[in-house]
Symmetry: C2
Subunit: 123 residues, 2 copies
DNA sequence: CATCTATGTTGACGTCCATCGATACACATG
DNA sequence: CATGTGTATCGATGGACGTCAACATAGATG
């Protein structure tokens, strides 16, 4: 139930594969591009999610068990909720190994978001 | 009434100036850093705002009059509302010239957001 | 000053969302 | 299989947010 549609970057949404991310400054985004990109930004638009994401991203080996990062001042269900949101946005992937669930950053998505914010080589 | 506190990047919020943006992957963000950064990401977390922002960013001379970009499928008050949000987030600045109001991107903020999403030089 | 256009503000409304406690599920271990 | 720990889901709740119509403000022009 979670096979296709991994990266919101390359939405195989309607008729084909749409690379969502020309730099924001290159041309006005279409409604569809904006929809896809906004999902990712929105996912990082919450302080708790940002801390969770950063905790995973900065953790040894690029991955972290939930137990390693859940000290962000909210309840355990809320942590789980936010991790799910980040996963749905394509920013994280998860894998269960025994008792623990490990989350890791989807580097390509992060890179693409960076591309989006790229500025033309101005002074 | 809009003099101090220009960049959410360098929040002169409480006791001093806090540069908000070590790469997300460098170390876990603090609550304060996350709060500041999340404001910016949240501002781009709406499709309409993203389109407006992109329209300004990609417009000739890096600035655009509201009338040039307000064709995003929502009412005029809504456009105004979103531009205000982008301005409050530090992503846009505005200037009135005669009848029209021109918005322009705050390049430094955009650059800092890009930094935030920087990945360590992995393969 | 009257009027027109461009933009911002206000107030209301419906929906989304972050949060929690309670509970369920997954795995390990005895 | 019983129990304990780690994680996810459910249902509820309060607040935030996107949207609009109506109105207000700013500048230009006659």
């Amino acid at each position: 139930m979670s096979n296709a549609k991994v990266l919101p970057l390359v939405e195989s949404d309607g008729q084909g594969v749409v690379p969502c991310c020309p730099p924001l400054t290159e041309r006005p985004m279409t409604a569809e591009e904006a929809e896809a990109a906004a999902r990712m930004f929105k996912a990082l638009g919450d302080p708790v999610r940002l801390r969770l994401f950063s905790a995973v991203a900065s953790h040894e080996g690029g991955e972290a068990c939930v137990c390693d990062i859940s000290d962000v001042g909210v309840s355990q269900p809320t942590v789980s909720h936010h991790l799910k949101k980040l996963k749905e946005a394509g920013l994280l992937t998860s894998e269960r190994r025994g008792t623990w669930v490990y989350y890791r950053v989807e580097a390509s998505v992060l890179a693409a978001m960076g591309q989006l914010l790229t500025l033309p080589a101005a002074a």
